[in-house]
Symmetry: D2
Subunit: 360 residues, 4 copies
């Protein structure tokens, strides 16, 4: 259970890090949208390990294949099944991971829940699972862009204590992609990269914040009262591996203001309702108000470190475990396309739901 996301634009992901591969089925995609693997691969490449020196070096091409749901390059309206074959299946003939629980990973909780776990590569808990989301998110982004004029993007806002200054209203994807840490504040990006590289060489890891942005969302998307747009965004973000927090608009920072200071005042402008500030983050009462949507997601430092740490094995004996081989010093550059994907999946789902109930 729990491997499905969305109501009208619904994705189901599957797959373990070892086994046949990982994939996703998208149900509810509108028909007659041009779609080939070329629309998906760029985001998968942004998510891929080995793309730079500051991410995990695991070598995989993550080549996606569309198995169903399109015909002659167009969506049929039927389920789109996408698949990435597992390649990097080294014979971990002997591995400590088979019996020991990695600290702050999900090895123990999966074992506690299911009484069984696929230990190679972390099984279902591997970040490879996010391949399916990113592929589905690429479709969602395309629909938002082409059908609704909505642009979704994300970038690294903070690495440990290094914080970027970015204007979410104007930042461009090309700026995000201009460097390997995916921070559009170039001066700061360089510092971030050096920090991550230093941490990597020390066999350690760092976390930080990714900021997500949606521009062009019209007023009216979102549902009262449980499926608020920000509630679904929060769920989407907290479903990402290593995420520990979400806030939107003024967020945790807004609590130091008083109501008079915090309120976004309405003004009429060119026959539209606009706000003179945007502490709401583009959503009021769960429904978009036409302003920029922006929010932040906190990611903890990756749990695998190249140092010996205390842990327990399956027989409940105390022992130690040391990360070996590959090691991802910072999840943030690769989390950027994941945040974009979940944002787009939430938005396209609400776009279709809004159309169903309130459309002409």
């Amino acid at each position: 259970m729990g491997n499905t996301f969305g109501q009208m634009f619904r994705i189901t992901t599957w797959g373990e890090s070892h086994g046949g591969g990982v994939g996703v089925v998208v149900d509810g995609c509108p028909p007659r949208i041009a779609l080939t693997e070329a629309d998906l691969q760029p985001d998968l490449d942004r998510r891929r390990p080995g793309q730079s020196k500051i991410v995990t070096p695991r070598k995989e091409t993550d080549t996606v294949q569309i198995l169903s749901g399109t015909y002659q390059g167009q969506t049929l309206g039927t389920p789109i099944s996408m698949w990435v074959k597992n390649e990097d299946q080294r014979s971990e003939a002997y591995s400590e991971m088979a019996s020991k629980f990695r600290p702050s990973h999900a090895d123990y909780t999966y074992f506690a829940k299911y009484g069984i776990r696929a230990w190679p590569g972390g099984g279902r808990t591997s970040a490879r699972e996010t391949i399916g989301r990113v592929a589905a998110g690429a479709i969602a982004k395309k629909i938002l862009r082409e059908k609704f004029g909505v642009e979704v993007l994300a970038y690294v806002k903070q690495v440990q204590k290094i914080r970027a200054e970015v204007d979410p209203a104007t930042v461009q994807m090309s700026e995000v992609e201009s460097n390997i840490v995916r921070c559009p504040d170039l001066a700061v990006a360089d510092k971030m990269i050096r920090l991550i590289d230093r941490v990597r060489r020390a066999g350690d890891t760092v976390g930080g914040i990714v900021e997500g942005v949606a521009r062009g969302v019209p007023p009216g998307w979102g549902e009262p009262v449980f499926d608020r747009l920000e509630a679904d965004l929060a769920k989407g973000m907290l479903s990402l591996p290593a995420s520990k927090g979400f806030d939107i608009g003024s967020g945790f920072g807004g609590i130091t203001m008083t109501g008079r200071e915090h309120n976004d005042l309405f003004r009429a402008k060119n026959g539209k309702v606009v706000t003179t500030s945007n502490r709401s983050g583009g959503i009021q009462g769960g429904i978009s108000n036409g302003a920029l949507i922006y929010f932040r997601v906190a990611f903890k430092p990756v749990a695998t470190v190249m140092h010996e740490q205390d842990t327990v094995d399956e027989r409940l004996k105390n022992t130690t475990l040391k990360g070996r081989g590959r090691h991802d010093p910072c999840v943030l550059p690769r989390a950027v396309p994941m945040v974009e994907a979940m944002t787009a999946l939430v938005l396209v789902d609400h776009a279709l739901r809004h159309k169903a109930q309130c459309g002409p």
Copy 2:
């Protein structure tokens, strides 16, 4: 759409601030649980306006009535319908709110979405909607306590810049309820109350942070990969009125640590797996690990202030609006039972889902 929460323990709320009342239908409640209105009213009283000088003075008894789903004081397993009649229906014969959008409220977004809105009292956007959640949450808390030995509670952690020191592992409900701001750090509680009262007299409002806690959750609750326990908690919290952020365990604060520092190390203790720290907040990979679950929810300052502010009316003319009459200086004391309710609803739903798939 969007008025239903949960998969196996599923609630649907309904009602506007004006009209017949507000209510909730709970579907999936286990049978043969002792249940009468007396189990629900205490939490509704904690949520009720007019309970102290630092919350909105609206006078309502919020007396709940169980309309179905029980027989001779026991749950039947069939839907439990609960209802609170609307009482305080003053004839707002003339009101500016009929045509003007209150800043940072949902008046405009509802109008943009639906092309119609019930302006008296804010209609569906009123915090009265949360009555249904709190009533359903009281049932969820009872099931968790009696069937699973799980205790859920929440308290005010911060008001504007005033921050309490509370040990989530040991804090007692009696401490939370010992003062009107619901902060168990008594020295700080007094400061908070004075701040809120001062702000109230100034016709202004303040926000802050509520911390939620669940103790006794066994390892194994939660689902990969979208319905992670923390993802559903995040959704539940961000679905509460005025909430702007959620973080769990080390949360946004954890990003300044490195992975070596941040990892929770496993140790075996009395035949159980425990962690020597709890930066994970009791959840790893979306699944509970048996440790204390704790998280924070940011609430913005309430939007209604007793000062004239710029806004727009339904005909898109610029105008001003000033809050009149009642005014809630701080949502936090009343948000505490709401956070408890949503926490309990998420947990009981996952408890039943876990039982279905992995139970004996």
Copy 3:
């Protein structure tokens, strides 16, 4: 669980025959539809006991009240809560039903499932539960009529062995309502009424067939592959009390034909695709083809008879039970509005789903 029907137009019913009442919450209704109790009561009156000599004489007015979701006579887009208070609560101080299971009722199965049951009036198993469906169905019928030009109706096709000849393409609601058995074949209707009355006097019951019809459904409603239009209709019909079968178009009768005989041939007519026969019943591959939708629902004879019959009590002792007092000789006249309601609920749900995915 299981008390919710529909995806985009979603209803949740609640209530037992004794207790506060019965009701329904409709979520997903489009906004700005004129709606008052006057739109609902006529169908509730058609469903009501005591409406004629050939149905159960239980005296209840079944007056519906809209508690939420409308403002000034228009739908808000928020949940519509509707309620019918229970009136006829005789003090069944002593009743055999408290301990004995009525044969072919759900007394035993509810007890086996839940370990508890509300025996007075049958509790949740009472046909009173269908009040919620019929009220929600009245809204669905209104939306179909006003927004989509679709007309839904049903009528009694057969009582025991007495079978009516009715043209589903032309039959009018006024013909259905012209007699108390709701059979538009007037010659046959009279025979049906006499049969039911004779059976009633003998303390016995009879079943039969209701035929449901939808006219004006455009091509394209329905979903592959599980939520086929006929699959959802089948589910809706088999969820009605006392129903035992469903078939559509040529149905069970079509199996005697060969494929050559059975195929509906396409022809172009006035720029539209039509079929020269309609053995498909207006649905092909789960999707409407623009032709008349028609299907049949078999209802068994009501289980309560005024004769002593063998049964078992809660302590698993053999005993006998004899129906007393009121007795419904034939469910068919009251099943007609139920079939209409479920038909309309399925269709409006699929209309909205189609709009979401494939609409302009």
Copy 4:
């Protein structure tokens, strides 16, 4: 939308007859169930074309591959992805089907719905889609058998007017599989086979009835009021290609009885409640009563016939079309494993739901 079935044991099928293949993702499968392809292939072989002279001769091995959700031959509790590659992809370089709608197929309705269709092999409307259901159903049957002691089977009850006598309480799978038409009444089976073969040679097709049976279902499975066990069975069956009707227990035949005759009387026997007859078909009020569950599904004659028939093309011109090449004279033998699959999927879903709400 609509490609997902089930709540707790949830399957999503995907795939067109041409393209990468067809498959299914199963979410919610209990962990630690022994499972390999060898558990699935037998049912797929029973569903496969070309298995005998009386079914479509299309040559495919339909070899299933498990891509995820198992480890070392055991289920993990994570999604099980299963895939059958498409093999028989002849280059239908020129085909009338590209522009003409086959009568009584879903070519036209898909085109009307989506504005696009994958014509080769019928695309998503191909019976190949049922491969996913049958594979998932094989898992469901295994769980029912091993975890709950429930046996599911089906058989051909009637071909056109030839009707078999079968005792659903005692019939064995070996009897069903003893002949190519899958009718356990051997004398009649032979007549059926000769009829189908004669019809096949005439380029025509016949339909009939499959009877489904579940033995050993304990009292208490099923949900009031919409997700009744018979309602979900009806939906499952009417979601099968070519099905036109469903009835359970006494079904359409029961309407000629009176209530006195029709009622199943309860008796206590060995500390259990049994019924002296079983016109209810093992379900009362939507919940199993412990008796044998049995029901029938009507399948129309397959639409593709080897004769020229009137139809229309995509430009709405009248034309004719004649089936060529392969041709399935009777869907019934291959529908038997499909009916079993859907039955098992409904039952295992309700078993898990019952456990969640009412289990110990």
